[in-house]
Amino acid sequence: MLVPLSWLRQYTDIDADAETFAERMILSGSNVETVRTFGKDIKGVVIGRVLSVERHENSDHLFICRVDVGADTRTIVTGAPNVSPGILVPVALHGSELPGGIRIKKGKLRGVMSEGMICSPEELGFDDKVTPISSKDGIWILPDEFEVGADAPTAMCLDETVVDFEITPNRPDCLSILGMAREAAAVFGAPLRYPNTDAPIASQHTAADFIRVEIRRPDLCGRYAARAAEDIVIGESPWWLQRRLMFAGMRPINNIVDITNYVMLEYGHPIHAFDIRTIAGGVIIVDTAKDGETFTTLDNVTRTLRGDMLLINDGEKGVAIAGVMGGLNSEIEADTRTILVEAANFNPSGVRLTSKALGIRSEASSRFEKGVSAELSGAAADRVCALIAETGAGRVAAGIVDNYPGKAERASIRVRVDRMNALLGTTIGADEMANMLERLEMDVAREPGILRVTPPHVRIDLTEEVDFSEEIGRMYGYDRLDATLHRDNVEVVVPRSLSLRETVRGTLTAMGLSEIQTYSFVSPEGADRIGLPADSPARDFVRLRNPLGEENSVMRTALLPNMLEILKGNFNRSNANVKLFEIGNTFLNAGAGTLPTERLSLSVGAYGVWGFFELKGVVEGVLRRLGIEGAIFESAADTGTYHPGRCARVFLPGSDEVAADRRAIGLLGEIHPDVRAAYDIGADVWGAEIDLEYVIGRADLTRRYEPLDRYPAVTRDVSLLTTEDVTVGAVTEIIAQTGGKLLERAELFDVYRGKQIPDGMKSLSFSLTYRAPDRTLTDEEVAKTHEKILKAIEENTGAGLREV
């Protein structure tokens, strides 16, 4: 909301400089985005009148003008296509200064000496979106009310400070100069003055002679106030009015449109003006459109309406989409003589739905959406008429046609003084509170301990007691509130899942992996890219109804596709040896009407480092850190995502160690060459995804001490020659089962293929450690168990002892 301070000062007395003003407004709740000053840096620009215009001999777009600048006349060359003899213009003379430190000097333009420059509005510091129509893309054709030779900044009052306020959605009343004046008056304890709404009546007619209003949908239109004016002469607005519009960010159009815009900015109430010629039978009917009815708005676009949209009509045809945009058919034209001034109140949701459905956002619609007080309509219509009279734009007809089905008495609200102090942590007295509220134009009835407050009708945000705590707080000043710490008696609880995730993070980073975070929504194509089977449950996506794009259209069911995307991004940037992990939620369909099931997952990904067993070591490390024993790794050739010979499915044993009870917790391995190719990564990629939700549930951070060994161990190394199909896991299992109590542990220390080993065979070397807790083992005892183990291996796998 752009507020020119000179306009604000019409309604209240603010002596503070702009900086103090902004600071105090900010602390009272009107946040300031920017403060802009105009005019200060303009020097040596005067009002001039163009006497003659000739084409430049050596140019097809330049003109040579003789310009009267008061003391004498000057020759000025301009390229502006809108220059013509007789117009008043701002002239930057030789040696003048313009905003942005630009200095104007005389100089030759294609051989002709130009003794200055005729300025455009932009050259004097205005935004081109507020440039008057006549001056668009050219020089500024000024209203013919200035004295030739006068200092332009002075004559045009170009010195101005414009404060841009950020208005929160609860305060639509502040989207107006009067609303901001009310705030400023309260903050500075200054009086508030209202503008003149009393138009001298110069017409023989009354508004009712021209118009009759019928509201058929009082639910969508709570009030329709209409006034009329005759003998309108459409023309340019006086400079003071144009000036205020321009500083407030609006483009001057013509006197009637400018006045309706002016009153909209002043009161915050949208106004529409109709050419009464176009209203058949002098009747205005407020009703919904017929479903599918077409209507051409004043931007010359034909729109198809729905049956729930409010279309103002005259019994024969639509004339305006209520609160959104007028019709081309009833627009104010250059020859308009009689006008209807509409100040109506339309339902916020109705306007919002209509403007959204039609894709039209106008100043009017955005104000109605946020809420406009219906009580303003009469005053706003009156103010328009007062300005029509004041500017001599026409003769105002007496009376007002005012249908007000939505009129409601504003009830007072009971505000307990103690309650306010309890919320704010203050000890403000009842009288002081009442005074603060009265400064905001509220009516306050004082009762013991209670204030009965009736806010001004424009404050549609104040509906219950608690709302006044902010009014009192901000008038008192948030900066004056104490800063204390609440004394409480509560225990600090951190969810187990959260702290265990932190544990996993700590473990993985210590192992050299770095953490990534990726979007929860992904492309459904990821499922194909990672080669998921057609019947995979991970293809049952939770879909967004309004995604930003297909690539973010479904909630992820796995973290691996994002991991591969990120690896790809890093690979493309030539980042070497990348090891990453992510901890995040996956989303599974839980049935219609139910929130999706969110499940924690862990993904790991790497390239340029590692082989399978380093990856497996990482997974084992995490499990070990979480105190989870007995994970089983089984070859998984069926995944589609991973290399069939280099992938393991991980299981955790069931509680009673029954094999069928075991639970798959994830996959790890080398990413399948086809998948790798789909992500365009030119290196071997290692990946894993683990059901972290389940794993965390199984975590056990308690540690029980085992007594340290007191008797020496006996170690026997053994190398076994086996066929390739015999797995280390199977041999280890046999060793563990036959080793009995004496076997402390069995460790694989070498796998060898090559010289001396026949094709299709491999040599597995284990180190077996024997120990008894209560004695030193004899050679015989060890030999007995050792033999038993070797025999069991041989019987079950056919592996033989290899002579080393």
Binding site: L27, N170, R352, L424, T426, D482, L513, Q517, K579
Partner: protein
């Protein structure tokens, strides 16, 4: 004969002087003091002497033995020291060569920041709780007092899964969940992901993180809100920052405020970080609206409370000087790796 030991001593001294290695010196020891050594031989030959001479010779021989032993010991130490010096010199390292540590992984800067925020509040007695990323429209909007036609509910602002289920646009629905599941006193923070239908650019991300805070108890005032958040700002950005509370609007708090903090970079003088104003907008907060307390099942007359929401990306960007929010989700290891 009596002079023999001293002659021997002179000879031994010369041999010891000539010795250069541990083996040389050992040979000298054996040659003079060993069982068949020359000094031993002198003592053995004492049988021919008279008792006085024998006594005198014994004294002399023992003195010489002690002296030779001392000389040998001294020489041995010197040789050992020389060997050490030689070894140390040959083993000298260039300690300016780079270390060969195990590579340390990094936690994501967002995780780091959440962790830091949570730790600060945990130290002030706040528990941690979490809510789902996919939420009901009721918890995300209705229960939080958002107007039925509020624009933030639009499809252009909020991601919807169904008519009634959306991706939460804020962590505030956790307020509703907590109030509904717990009786006051309540003192929690809740970190998590949020989503808004923004196209990514340097300052917008369709996914971002917040940390929500909620304290509900008897006698909680806006002064307590100021105290808690001022303490947070100081612990997060340093004890010399000051805070300023501005009235603002949120549907679920009344009164509402935004907290600005004096710029920790320029200390309020005005710089690029604070865009010249000396102040940085840090968070939104306010006293929990009685409607929210009621929906949550708390007695809105008996209890009051405050709530706040902190934008994690914003804090992380300020704290680490990051200028583009997209960096967080590109996960370039050169970026992530800076936060080990």
């Amino acid at each position: 004969m009596l002079n023999k030991p001293d002659e021997l001593l002179n000879e031994a001294r010369a041999s010891i002087d000539r010795s250069a290695t541990e083996a040389d010196i050992e040979a000298v020891r054996i040659g003079f003091l060993g069982k068949k050594g020359r000094l031993t031989a002198i003592l053995r030959s004492m049988g021919d002497l008279n008792p006085d001479e024998r006594k005198e010779l014994g004294l002399r021989a023992n003195r010489v033995r002690d002296e030779i032993e001392a000389l040998i010991g001294e020489k041995k130490r010197a040789i050992t020291a020389a060997l050490r010096a030689e070894r140390f010199s040959s083993e000298k390292l260039d300690v300016t060569e780079p270390g060969k540590g195990v590579s340390l992984g990094s936690r994501h800067p967002i995780t780091r920041t959440i962790d830091e925020i949570c730790r600060i509040f945990a130290n002030m007695g706040y528990s941690v709780t979490e809510g789902p990323e996919a939420e009901t429209v009721f918890n995300n909007f209705d229960a939080l007092n958002a107007a039925p036609n509020h624009p933030s509910r639009d499809l252009t602002d909020t991601f919807y899964i169904t008519e009634d289920i959306l991706l939460r646009t804020q962590t505030s629905p956790v307020q509703v969940r907590t109030l509904r599941s717990t009786q006051p006193p309540i003192k929690v923070i809740s970190p998590g992901r949020c989503f808004r239908a923004d196209t990514p650019d340097a300052t917008h991300s369709p996914m971002f993180h917040q940390v929500e805070g909620l304290l509900v108890d008897e006698g909680v005032t806006m002064a307590d809100l100021k105290g808690a958040l001022d303490a947070f700002a100081k612990r997060m950005f340093g004890n010399d920052v000051t805070t300023k509370f501005r009235p603002h609007f949120f549907p679920f708090t009344e009164p509402s405020a935004e907290m600005d903090m004096s710029c920790f970079v320029c200390r309020g003088k005005g710089c690029r970080v604070c865009k010249g104003s000396g102040w940085i907008e840090i968070l939104g907060c306010g006293m929990v609206h009685p409607n929210v307390l009621r929906v949550g099942g708390a007695d809105a007359e008996r209890y009051t409370g405050f709530a706040f929401g902190i934008g994690v990306e914003r804090i992380a960007m300020l704290k680490h000087g990051i200028e583009d929010i997209r960096l967080f989700y590109e996960n370039d290891i050169r970026f992530i790796g800076q936060f080990a």
